[in-house]
Symmetry: C2
């Protein structure tokens, strides 16, 4: 968590109790927390926090590459994960929402270079593989 907060300080962002609480909640909730789960966790220590603050800080973290947002189909909304040293992506079941990490990233520096040639300053990328997990495949 300190790593996350230090990165924010280094970029000149203010350190508020709410921001600290969101960071702490991300660590506490572990992988794949939804905004609602984070809100519940944050309220334990900071009761008067608003959902807006959760999303605002999550967006900031994502923009800075500190957190990864995973696009999930279905009703539970997207999930968030603290970016680890091992940059990676995810498998998502389009039936039950089960999510698993894929332990590597198939995007090469050459790919990023091709994107940059298009006059885009690339900050991050999102990659999700959608399909059916074993359970949903056999049940289907």
């Amino acid at each position: 968590m300190e790593k996350l907060l230090n990165a924010l300080r280094a970029k000149g962002y203010k350190m508020t109790p709410q921001r600290r609480a969101v960071a702490a909640a991300l660590i506490k909730c572990g992988k794949f927390a939804t905004a609602q789960q984070l809100l519940l966790q944050v309220k334990q220590t900071t009761p008067d926090v608003s959902l807006d603050t959760i999303y605002r800080n999550l967006s900031l973290f994502v923009k800075l590459g500190l957190v990864t947002e995973i696009h999930l189909p279905g009703r539970e909304g997207n999930i968030f994960e603290v970016t680890t040293n091992q940059h990676h992506h995810h498998l998502v079941c389009i039936n039950c929402g089960k999510t698993e990490c894929l332990d590597y990233c198939p995007i090469s520096s050459h790919d990023l270079e091709k994107a940059r040639e298009r006059d885009f300053q690339i900050i991050s990328h999102a990659l999700e593989f959608y399909g059916y997990c074993r359970t949903c495949r056999t049940a289907g």
Copy 2:
């Protein structure tokens, strides 16, 4: 459009006027249509269509690989694009939402194989590069 409708028939899905209208709207709106834009277009020919139907059919098309959904940050919501013969991905400006096609896909069959080894039946994948377009970069 016929290609799209034929693919649906081949899979045994029913052909309703609403479904036809959504398909037609996707063609008419061209690249990067939002659900709202599609609803407006569909209402021109089928006034009593519900937003639910738009989303339901879009989800179906996406699931069948006929349409690609692009995850956009910000207020306008996601955008949809008819899948072309040339499978490709997108660059998205996280400031203004401007979206451009990248004319290829960096995901190899080896990557898909690695995903399948995890007991997932992979149906599709989403890849977006996020950053700042030339305009937002210089304005920023």
